[in-house]
């Protein structure tokens, strides 16, 4: 007798559990869908401001940046993604000073650990929110961050 109860018990319990599952999915069938319609929503799409897309070097209106070519970021980088090319120039008052020639950044080998931005004493580099970084050629991932003809900003600014 017990066995028989068990047989039908399992049968009906099982069927009701299946019913609960069917009810759940049917409810979802009519709820609003969650798919993001990218790229149609490109204009409304807002990345979080702390999102790390790619390393950039902000320039102000006079085409000036804050990089003093100290190379701390280059040393901090675990992957060697940063190469700071600098030259020694003599300033007007006769002192020798390092000046940034080219700030090369390899997006392809960057692992977004933020050690470079943490190391930078002048906040010259920061991560942008850009995320559409796909290119057809790997060499295009090596970017020069300082604008052509840019120079380091004077202390005051």
């Amino acid at each position: 007798m017990k066995n028989k109860n068990n047989y039908f018990g399992i049968l009906f319990q099982g069927l009701s559990s299946l019913g609960v599952g069917l009810k759940t999915t049917m409810k979802e069938f009519f709820t609003k869908k969650i798919t993001e319609q990218y790229p149609e929503n490109r204009n409304e799409l807002q990345m979080f401001d702390r999102f790390r897309g790619a390393l950039t070097m902000p320039h102000n209106a006079d085409n000036e940046h804050h990089c003093i070519a100290c190379g701390l970021c280059q040393n901090a980088c675990p992957n060697g993604s940063i190469r700071v090319v600098s030259e020694m120039v003599e300033t007007e008052d006769g002192k020798k000073k390092k000046q940034l020639l080219r700030y090369e950044y390899n997006l392809g080998s960057c692992m977004f650990c933020q050690l470079c931005t943490n190391a930078c004493p002048h906040d010259a580099i920061q991560f942008s929110n850009e995320f559409e970084s796909a290119v057809f050629d790997r060499n295009k991932l090596i970017r020069t961050l300082n604008n052509p003809g840019s120079k380091v900003a004077t202390k005051k600014s």
Partner: protein, 358 residues
């Protein structure tokens, strides 16, 4: 209700006026064959699209929506992609069987497909043991699956094929028994007559409780027969990658895919024919106005409407449940479905004998 036999007879007469009888029948056979293939392909496209949209809706997604408006030509693009793929033969396969297997499966599903009464007068194969033929033809498919698994020279494939063999052969029993229950009720095996029986009430209503039980059993067994979730363990992706069709590429795989979806439709269409009145419109006794309005809707719309309703039920089941294990599949069949359908058959026999049905 419009009788399509008028059209077919007219075509037949017209052909006879042009050529001798032998040629006329041959031409008709070719035309019907082409018609079936076209309908088959069209249905497959609709079904695959429907599956993707329905499953997306269950899963809080939108489904395909990139190619064409609402993604409606997605499936056609997929077919084109599949056609451009290289057809390769893996090392060590039994070439003859390997190439034969997809056609065996297609053959089975074509034969079954031809039995479906789409509208009044639109039955391709209709004879006095129609139901019997239908069940026999549908079971050829398992041979194709076994051949595919065996000939592929792949351990995953053979496990998938063996699972499938065990499963389909078992579930054929309860599917057959469920249909047999309805044959008892209708008293005929000819499909057109079964449909004809249902002018004044579908069998699921006239047969009430035993018919309803048979309907549920048929849905479960039918789902299992076309290897669809929760019975999709012959091709259980997370266990056997793709099961018996792992080693097929291009259209070889395409045929399996096609047959799988068409089998889904066939199962649904048989359910619609046997339980839900085929192309018969919904008649409620006593409401003559309503019945006349229903009569204006053509039979094939009724038929496809019902079939797709059952397809939706099967999809709903598929996308709600986790997969069973092989021993559970067998114990579900042999410990639950078979005894219940046997008792159900007995109950139906009593109902018919004592005239307890409507």
């Amino acid at each position: 209700m419009f009788d399509f036999s008028i059209v077919t007879n007219w075509i037949h007469q017209w052909l006879l006026s042009l050529m001798p009888q032998g040629w006329a029948i041959f031409t008709e056979c070719v035309a019907v064959g082409i018609g079936i293939i076209l309908l088959y392909a069209l249905l497959a496209i609709i079904l695959i699209y429907m599956e993707r949209k329905v499953c997306a809706a269950f899963q809080c997604r939108l489904g395909p929506n990139r190619v064409g408006p609402w993604g409606c030509i997605q499936v056609i693009c997929d077919v084109l992609k599949m056609l451009t793929k290289e057809i390769f033969t893996p090392k060590g396969v039994d070439k003859k069987l390997y190439n034969l297997a997809p056609y065996m499966i297609l053959l089975a599903s074509f034969l079954t497909f031809a039995c479906l009464p789409i509208s009044k007068g639109l039955e391709v194969l209709d004879f006095n043991v129609g139901v019997f033929f239908l069940l026999a033809a549908s079971s050829i498919g398992v041979v194709g699956i076994l051949l595919a698994g065996w000939s592929s020279n792949n351990k995953f494939s053979i496990i998938g094929a063996m699972r499938s063999g065990a499963q389909i052969i078992s579930y054929e029993l309860s599917a057959g028994m469920a249909i047999l229950t309805m044959v008892v009720l209708s008293g005929t095996m000819q499909i057109s007559e079964i449909v004809g029986m249902q002018t004044n009430g579908w069998l699921i209503f006239t047969g009430h409780i035993p018919a309803f039980v048979a309907f549920i059993i048929y849905l479960i067994a039918g789902n299992a027969e076309c290897n669809r979730g929760p019975f999709d363990l012959p091709e259980a992706e997370s266990e056997l990658t793709a099961g018996y069709h792992t080693e097929y590429s291009g259209m070889g795989f395409g045929f399996f895919y096609l047959a799988e979806y068409l089998n889904l439709f066939i199962v649904a269409a048989i359910a619609a024919t046997v339980f839900l009145g085929g192309w018969m419109p919904l008649h409620i006794p006593g409401l003559d106005g309503f019945n006349t309005i229903m009569d204006y809707i053509p039979g094939f719309i009724w038929y496809f409407g019902k079939a797709f309703f059952v397809v939706f039920l099967l999809m709903w089941m598929r996308w709600s449940f986790p997969r069973l294990r092989i021993d559970q599949i067998l114990s579900l069949e042999w410990k639950y479905l078979v005894p219940i359908s046997m008792i159900n058959l007995l109950v139906m026999a009593l109902v018919v004998t004592f005239g307890w049905h409507f």
